[in-house]
Amino acid sequence: MIEVVEAGRWTTIQDRGRPGLERFGIPSGGAADWFAAAVANRIVGNHADAALLECTASGPTLRFDADTVVAMTGGHAAGAPDWQPVRLARGSILAVGTIAPGLRTYIAVRGGIDVPVVLGSRSFCQRGTFGGGFGRPLAKGDGISIGRMADLEPMSTSWPASHRLPSRGPWEVRVIAGPHQNAFAENALERLGAIACRVTPQIDRMGLRLETPGLRLQPGEILTAPMTEGGIQVTPSGGLIVLHVDHQTTGGYPVIATVISADLPLLAQARPGDTVHFRAVDGHEAARAWRRLSGWLGADH
């Protein structure tokens, strides 16, 4: 068991999510920074589907009642060494502390977090307030069981620094044009790519609001349409909403471009005030970027 001594700002249980249920209004969800989460599981020797803790801005304090191995990845947490296996003896306390740079830290525990699977996943779904064991973020006093989803030995060394993503902005985020390019002037995406967008304080797992200083995009209207993770919606006032893992499954604002899968983790680590540059790429570059990260994780991912 793990006892939650302090919950942290917004700590939830996540795994690889529940893709395929969007037609019921359910976002795929899962770890916002899928890459950091995959690495954390890999370091402790867990199956790729094991659930872990996603901490936001400031992490929890946890007490472990058995010997175990944990790994912290993603945003840098003040409280413990990250990107490496950390052996904890029974009775140990892990105080994650403040997270910076980056916004979200993942804590994988050898064996995985054991909570009931709801609709194919252990992830907490913010829009539906279900899953994640408690149907809410963790709270002080919660007890969490450890599962049996370890299938490899823990790594004996740190995760190589050369196989990590940038940890702080300015963020360069690659996008593919569309699907609603017709709702914009012909050069709109080019103009968006030429400016530095600014992350506002309005960011969560559903989406990130960005300002476009010096640029006022004028979106046309669309009929309500299905939306995907990474879609960059342009609101009538010209601001951007970049849809994230717990995004609305349909929406009425046109999407000028969509962030490629390999760069979605960057959105999970962007902080208010950071700048984001969007760069349009084609499907081939998106595929190369994906293969690069998959290669770092190994063939089993």
């Binding site: 893709p19 829009r127 699907p179 009929l223 879609g231 349909t250």
Partner: protein, 211 residues
């Protein structure tokens, strides 16, 4: 002519039209069914809404060009005479916080709003936005009112709202900008149920006033 556009590197959006129209919805559902039956290589799942269909694919198995070709083969080949579902009754208490305001705006009495809203069948065009949220149309012209100027932060599950030519049912508590005129005790979203959402596009329903 269908528009097929990338929605990132693992999905593409097929847009069949731009209006709220039962026939267009019928075509979307026919395409959805045809893809379900044919299972083109690499297609993972689909999401229908109004006049478009999102197709998620596995880029390790197929690519956008091949999948688009597979979809285009169906253009003009679909039997769009899809039978919509039987009419489901939605017991409704018309006591929403915006009922009086909607009556003022539409120059009807509250009872007149209820009569107009409950007086016809609706087609479900989309389940989306949030888990189980059910978009229905078309609302009678006389009930068309704009969304609230500032959305509510919390709308409770079961709330029934109207906006523009649409009416919708909130299935889970969420923020919301629609004018709330009533609520139902019918449970529209249940993670333990299969399927988890009570309605799907192509279903039909009517609101039955209860006291």
């Amino acid at each position: 002519m269908w528009q097929v556009a990338p929605a990132g590197d693992r999905a593409m959006l097929v847009t069949l039209g731009h209006t709220i129209d039962p026939q267009l919805l019928g075509q979307v559902l026919a395409l959805d069914q045809a893809l379900h039956d044919r299972r083109p290589s690499g297609l993972v799942s689909t999401v229908p809404a109004y006049a478009s269909l999102l197709c998620h694919y596995d880029p390790d198995v197929t690519d956008a060009g091949r999948l688009e070709a597979g979809i285009r083969e169906l253009e003009g080949q679909l039997d769009a005479s899809v039978a919509f579902g039987p009419v489901v009754d939605v017991p409704t208490r018309y006591d929403g916080p915006d009922l009086a305001d909607v009556a003022l705006r539409t120059k009807l009495t509250p009872a007149g709003v209820v009569e107009a809203h409950a007086g016809q069948e609706y087609l479900v065009y989309c389940v989306g936005f949030a888990p189980g949220f059910t978009y229905c149309g078309a609302l009678p012209d006389q009930l068309a009112v704009p969304r609230l100027a500032s959305p509510r932060l919390r709308v409770s599950a079961g709330s029934i709202g109207i906006a523009g030519r649409q009416t919708g049912i909130y299935a889970v508590e969420s923020p919301g900008g629609w004018n709330l005129i009533g609520r139902t005790a019918l449970r529209l979203f249940d993670p333990a149920a299969d399927p988890p959402a009570r309605f799907k596009p192509g279903d039909r329903l009517r609101f039955i006033p209860t006291s």
